[in-house]
């Protein structure tokens, strides 16, 4: 216990803990992939992982660098075409949980991965939405993993790439959606969940050693706290070991630079 760990490790482990053994996850590359596979290698051995490249029920031994590494296909139950993936599996409503991240997030967990600045004359052209616009609405619920900073946790998005809770309240329902939207936002500092009424993302747990002051400094809006705020349990030795071994295997497999 109480071993030394990095904020990124706390973030990944906190996200992994929130995953359930019977979840069917649409997994993104990077931290979502690490969190999902950590869950699979610890408390959720039967969790079903799906990557948008078409691999169903995959069990990668090393983390993929891309969304379609050969490792994902080799260890999958089967692999479907990308149109089928988006039609039968995502839109078909067969995913219980989607993972998203972004360059910018607002208090209602709407995300921007498209542009900083105006769309037609961007200051920074980001990669774009990819699968996110439909992941955000078709999955049963959404977890978001993002490191906090004033630049990324902003009061107003330059562009809404994918819907979170929109303008809050019943906005999703008014758009005809029956899915829950973002139910968890896990950062390097804390865990947020939507307020039951307003749907504003509110802190429900603070990671060990993190102050409210530090959260304030790294959030571009006045942070709300739930009535009861827990302290996140620090990573256990077992969690850290499994995660680090996963990263080490990955680094060896990708040729060191890729870690």
């Amino acid at each position: 216990m109480a071993e030394a760990y990095k904020p990124n490790e706390m973030m990944t482990i906190a996200a992994a803990r929130a995953l359930r053994n019977d979840d069917v996850c649409f997994v993104g590359i990077g931290m979502p992939s690490a969190a999902c596979n950590l869950a699979r290698l610890t408390h959720a051995p039967d969790i079903t992982l799906i990557y948008e490249s078409g691999t169903l029920a995959t069990k990668p031994n090393v983390l993929p660098l891309s969304i379609g590494d050969g490792e994902l296909c080799d260890t999958a139950l089967t692999t479907v075409s990308v149109p089928e993936m988006f039609r039968y599996w995502l839109q078909g409503g067969r995913i219980t949980l989607g993972f998203l991240g972004g360059a910018q997030i607002d208090r209602f967990a709407n995300l921007n991965t498209t542009v900083v600045g105006p769309y037609d004359k961007p200051k920074v052209r980001l990669p774009g939405g990819g699968g996110a616009p439909e992941i955000a609405v078709a999955c049963g619920e959404i977890y978001i993993i993002m490191a906090q900073s004033p630049r990324s946790f902003v009061s107003r998005l330059d562009f809404v790439t994918s819907l979170g809770h929109g303008e809050g309240g019943d906005h999703r329902a008014r758009l005809g959606l029956e899915t829950k939207g973002p139910t968890r936002l896990v950062t390097d500092l804390a865990i947020f969940a939507p307020d039951p009424e307003t749907k504003e993302m509110s802190v429900i747990s603070i990671h060990p050693g993190v102050t409210r002051e530090r959260i304030r400094e790294n959030t571009g809006w006045p942070v709300r706290y739930a009535a009861e705020v827990a302290e996140t349990a620090p990573p256990t030795r077992a969690e850290l070991e499994v995660l680090r071994e996963l990263h080490a295997r990955t680094a060896r497999a990708h040729g060191a630079q890729a870690a």
Binding site: G68, C73, F86
Partner: protein
């Protein structure tokens, strides 16, 4: 009926200035060798279509081949930005680039609609998202039964689609396996097509009754370009060159570095360098790989397999291996069909 051509002949015959060109391959089987040939042949005013415009489109855009890009995710996967794409969009270098931006779901559906000869694709898409506000090609239709509103995007019908596949047989049928992406749809949706393959075999041999095959009469040109997907991969042939994707970042950041790299690695080279560059990435034992796909035993065997297939890290960077390749542009043989059917039993 598919014709067997050299890569230069295939691109010359099928890719014209001003064409809409889809080069597809979702992480797996990206037709990089063919993209280099398009750069060498200096095509201009292309509309480039691709869900994930990664390295080949960064290169085409940086070389001024494209007026327009239709895409859904424009990054260097697992690494970061596409600097040439950003430079074109943010600064208009080397020329302005118009973009038509979609989501993955919309593009996948649009290819599917193109293959199905429909004028548009229908999806539950873009709900609450801003893309529909900036892209006039995102519209809607009303369900005549439920009254629901659904998103509609135009079918993708490229002038020419280019893909890389595992193998072709001598009759001109094309075999795909693994992450098959939207390649079949891209070819079926296009007016013309070029398929580069790892090898040409006498016949595909015993196979799953539902194997993913593009029949000969749906394919335009077939070109044998071993390694032609590098730095992406060809399942069972060679691994993804992850280090290469990482190495691309600093090359593409700077205009001059980029141009020098293109000169040395594309303009002064030919498709034969791809066979050379994938040598250290080749996988020795596809049989063991197959075993790794066993359901219940999956994890244990996968671990063993992963140990077996771990290549020598670091050897695959673009610098080192490319230096070994012969300079000058050797023309691809006109008779790739005579290549031995090395992996027939697969």
């Amino acid at each position: 009926m598919a014709q067997f051509l050299s890569l230069s002949d295939a691109v010359e015959a099928h890719v014209r200035d001003g064409d809409s060109v889809a080069m597809e391959g979702f992480t797996h089987l990206i037709p990089n060798a063919a993209a280099h040939e398009v750069i060498r042949q200096k095509r201009r005013h292309l509309t480039l279509i691709r869900m994930t415009p990664d390295l080949p489109y960064d290169q085409l855009i940086g070389m001024g081949c494209a007026d327009r890009l239709v895409f859904s995710w424009g990054g260097n996967p697992g690494v970061g930005s596409l600097h040439r794409l950003r430079d074109a969009v943010e600064n208009g270098w080397p020329q302005p680039l118009a973009i038509e931006e979609h989501s993955h779901a919309a593009m996948a559906n649009a290819y599917e609609a193109g293959a199905a000869n429909l004028p548009f694709a229908l999806l539950r898409g873009y709900i609450g998202a801003d893309l529909a506000k900036v892209n006039p090609n995102i519209r809607s239709v009303t369900c005549p039964f439920t009254g629901e509103t659904l998103a509609a995007v135009p079918a993708i019908r490229p002038d020419v689609s280019i893909i890389h596949a595992l193998k072709a047989d001598r009759a001109g049928n094309v075999y795909l396996e693994g992450i098959v992406g939207v390649q079949k749809e891209a070819v079926l949706a296009a007016k013309r097509s070029i398929v580069t393959v790892e090898e040409i075999v006498d016949d595909f041999g015993p196979r799953n009754a539902n194997a993913v095959i593009l029949p000969s009469w749906t394919v335009g040109a077939i070109v044998c370009v071993p390694g032609g997907a590098h730095p992406s991969y060809a399942q069972g042939y060679y691994k993804r060159d992850n280090a290469y994707y990482i190495a691309w970042d600093p090359i593409a950041r700077d205009r001059d570095t980029f141009l020098a790299w293109i000169k040395a690695n594309v303009l002064e080279k030919g498709p034969e360098v791809f066979a050379e560059i994938v040598k250290p990435l080749r996988q020795a034992a596809p049989a063991a790989k197959k075993a790794a796909r066993k359901g219940a035993l999956g994890t244990r065997i996968a671990k063993a397999a992963a140990r077996l297939f771990r290549g020598k890290p670091g050897e695959a960077g673009p610098g080192k291996t490319k230096v070994k390749a012969k300079p000058g542009r050797a023309k691809q043989t006109k008779a790739p069909a005579r290549k031995s059917a090395r992996r027939r039993a697969r």
